[in-house]
Symmetry: D2
Subunit: 350 residues, 4 copies
């Protein structure tokens, strides 16, 4: 497409953190025009009333979904809660490309969806067409996709570390342990006791141990690469008293005859031409601070002191590469734009 | 009373931060037996289910108010929301002493209550008997009180600084400016968007500018000391990304002929025999960290660079001296116990 | 100048937060080429070794000042500590424009410098030529300046609120009280006990009460507008447990016959054509979160409950509008570029 | 000994967080008299000048070690940096009991000390007599010890989880993975860039991956229980933006025929009579907030979704049970006092 073509966007679920970070990024994307910001409770309000930091940019007021005239829209970003998302996406004209940031189209198997999300999936035909939006790993399919299911923030961090490791044959698929840490914005803007500043602001809390919905998503994608459907991982999330940031520390078994150096080399090779990912040199350790606000993902590989094992650490900003940023990256791929368009924010440190 | 006598306590509103901090302190008070922990939504739950940090101490389960047998109770601590509080307190047998940590009996004038709290006060007879529980300033009245209205956290911090200053004749009652800063626990445990960790955890927010309910409370008490009913102060609160702690920076005019040194001396004199308050030496600056978790209040006085003015800074822990601790201090006075009983926690730093 | 012309930059003092934030912003400035990143202790290191978040952008390694070939440089940003700054700036060829983010050229009176900074100013000739870089207020002078003294972060926040208020005749110059709050990054990257996370991370600390060096700077600029040299303000800074952000709550006396509404209108008028500043509508309250990472400044005006007084609140990001961002804004003005070039980052919330 | 006997204490290294937290706790210990607070740089200062929160308790000023008259001392708590500690402890009269909170007497093998701490151990005779002060596991030996080496904070958290697990035969000694998270106070009061609030205050940082000195200490103690000297664990620490708190998530292999329920039952049995430790019921998840400020340790056990594996989570306050509190607990055992004397602080939440 032409470099300056404007694409008309509707954001559905614009009053959450994912929606607002998409707007933050999209305001600096040369091809994006925000046509509709759709919100339910906040319909009728100015953006500034809901998100004061977005005031002054001439954005349209928040509207109810019923106000959207679809012929004015080229693409939809959807940041709704699960279950609601697929019901609404099913009603969007097929001409319009959809980038879904919810969980509804991530699990390919409707039975798995029912098991982990506790409800029937009522858009199984659409589900078959959805492309899993882990940009670096589904690049070709994304270019022609109509419906993209953006990965969860944890799965993005974990799979960026594990997929190329497994694909390269350097690690085993057994006994993969993912100790995951997330900032509080990952829990969303709906007030909950657990994420009050007084509760979460000065302490560390493991949660959803053995029960988090991001585990089956990780297992599904590892299974695709390994050609197996029986992979079970340990995924243990922890809530960290910081606003943004996600970091996974993965404990893996090296494949027979492979070393951590082999693994680092393979990973470096895989990501050499991917603009947002850097595999760090031996001994370097990434922190969430090093990616805050950016679409970057930093990865490092260590040989474990336990023989035959390795540690892979991966970090990203949960609202950017873990959500709105990756959604925009997928949008770029779907519309034939340069992958980095509108995503060149340098990480903000301190 | 005898030193080891046990006093049976009911805490009404035990599922809030004020209630739980009262239990934290009361567990180490030699005269307290927790007979009832009353909560509405959480009735029927173990304490541990609501407050994991209070597990293992043999506390009774939370119960509904209807389960309380009043003849088993000697004193009630009430941590209910305003409006609810006075309705319930009105039903408590008169034999039982009541320490109210809510706002309902703080303003002596029912019209002021109606204006600032937006409802009619239905216990005006009781209101006439209530003693304002600023322990150091109402010590004698507290010894014989049946109903005590514990001050708000901000008024405690502000009045500890301003009352003796005004009483001593060292400052004027005009143009008193109170720039107040509070940690997030002051906003309570009910989930609100403004106090989510993602919103309040990494930023400073002024709020309720010119509209905060603690302003008339401060003005009332300054008026008592000044013998006037027309005092208006500037009270501007700010939400600070910390769990506990309150600090007020007061900007005042010195009285004709008085210096900041006079003021410091007068304040030091007033608090010399008060165990929880320390007026710091010239140049020393207190922080909220220096009082965290304790019932202490630290105060300092500076000469302003603007001629004829002074700065008074006062800090305390909003949940302790600003609420549950002062309630316990009042309890001690009411029951003839040593004022410091159960309140000797040293501040926790770092 | 032509829109795409590249300007060669040297950053002196590139290893501090001010320097690194300038690089973060400058990397997205279409006219900037970073020719030299000058640091003392870190000379010889890669940028990534000092600031991991700046890795991968092809920046030059850090070098010692002695390595700079001045004929390759068009402009210098200086982020050195005070005293060091003016000594070094005095050695830079006059052809090169200098944007100084240090304190050395802020106070026009060398005696004031000696009094507050404790040393002799050895570049008093240069001092006479320096333009005070409060962009919105010295716009015309900045366009032709060779040496710009960027204001301190606190003076920027305070003067953005107070200068147009005073200029408009709506407030008096007497008894101005500035209660200031800053995030910890304002204290710089040199390790100090007071800014350790364990000390400053969970508490509020007033500091430098009546002694902060930003007071005379504020007084100087208020004096310029008022045409007086005897203005004394109360400036009381507080360290807040957040990384970035600055907010000043100013307590002022309205001029005879003027109201807070007059003041708000006057301020709104002054800033109507200034792209980074917004005067909020009546009742709106800004937070540091609403400007984080951006070059924006938000201001609000309230009528005080005390008759004849008003409250002005101003907030900005101390490292951006309070330092590196404003430096870049001045650079744009000095080189005839659009004022907003490279500074269009939307604030990052949450 | 008699219940009210006073024991004269010298704290060496009183200006660090460990030393100050010992004083915080000791001030409420009925048998402790602080005779000497020894500090090097701060010798001659009042306690209040170094730790404002400890002002007003009548503590002696800080003194240099040379000022200590040993015949006035019954017991020494040592909070010095490693290497310095053993040199000084070697000079203390043998009559005096020593509780060392440094690292110098933790590793029994001087070669391991040299390898991990990088210097020769010059008090190997003393080393042979030192008892490892993990109170619940060395209770009997502690009762008669003269020199106690208090464990590191991480080893305490990890060993509280792993020792009884291994001892019970429920888990294997192979492939133990300890993902550890600590608050910033664990890094001490010496200013370092990594622990500045601007760097560590709003982000998560893995550090010392595969290189942390607490790994060999954990391996040593697991080896004692397993009767082996070849145990290697994965120990990966992460710095968390909170002041206090430590939590380890341990990933372990169950022994043949054992279940996570067996493991939980065994652990519960072991700790049933230990006053500071609670093994939570199935499904309960502890947070650092639940132990803050207390000497408590909370542990939970989960069956992993990966067959044959379990997750053990253990949390404590790094400065209390992880340091000064455990030191005091050991002191109680050594002097025949009730184990909980002076350690009954209820955890402070929020």
């Amino acid at each position: 497409m032409t470099k300056n073509k404007k694409i008309n966007i509707a954001v559905i679920g614009a009053s959450g953190y994912t929606g607002s970070d998409l707007v933050r990024l999209g305001l600096r994307h040369p091809n994006i025009t925000f046509q509709y910001l759709v919100a339910k409770t906040h319909a009728g309000k100015s953006v500034e009333a809901v998100f004061p930091h977005l005031g002054g940019y001439g954005l349209p007021d928040m509207v109810d979904l019923s106000a959207v005239e679809w012929d004015k829209v080229d693409a939809v970003f959807c940041g709704l809660p699960h279950a609601t998302a697929h019901e609404i996406i099913a009603t969007i004209p097929e001409r319009i490309k959809v980038i879904d940031m919810s969980a509804d189209f991530r699990l390919r198997d409707p039975k798995a969806y029912a098991q982990w999300y506790g409800g029937t999936h009522n858009a199984t035909d659409l589900l078959k067409t959805a492309v899993y939006g882990l940009s670096e790993h589904y690049r070709e399919q994304l270019k022609t996709a109509r419906l993209v299911a953006c990965p969860g923030c944890y799965p993005t961090a974990a799979l960026m570390a594990l997929l190329p490791a497994l694909k390269s044959g350097c690690i085993q698929a057994e006994d993969i342990i993912i100790d995951a840490k997330s900032g509080v914005s990952g829990a969303g803007r709906a007030p909950k006791q657990m994420t009050l500043a007084a509760e979460a602001g000065e302490g560390l809390s493991p949660y959803a141990v053995t029960k988090h919905r991001h585990a089956p998503e990780i297992e599904q994608e590892l299974g695709v690469v390994a050609g197996r459907d029986d992979i079970i991982v340990n995924f243990t999330p922890h809530l960290v008293p910081m606003t943004r940031g996600e970091l996974v520390t993965c404990y893996v078994k090296l494949a027979e005859g492979k070393s951590a150096d082999d693994l680092r080399t393979a990973m470096g090779g895989f990501y050499a031409d991917k603009p947002f990912v850097r595999v760090l040199e031996q001994g370097a350790i990434p922190s969430t601070q090093h990616v805050r606000g950016s679409n970057n993902c930093l990865i490092t590989v260590f040989a474990d002191r336990i023989k035959g094992r390795a540690i892979i650490i991966s970090t990203l900003d949960n609202l950017v590469k873990g959500s709105a940023g990756q959604a925009l990256q997928n949008f770029n791929l779907m519309f034939g734009l340069a992958e980095t368009t509108g995503l060149q924010q340098v990480a903000m440190f301190p």
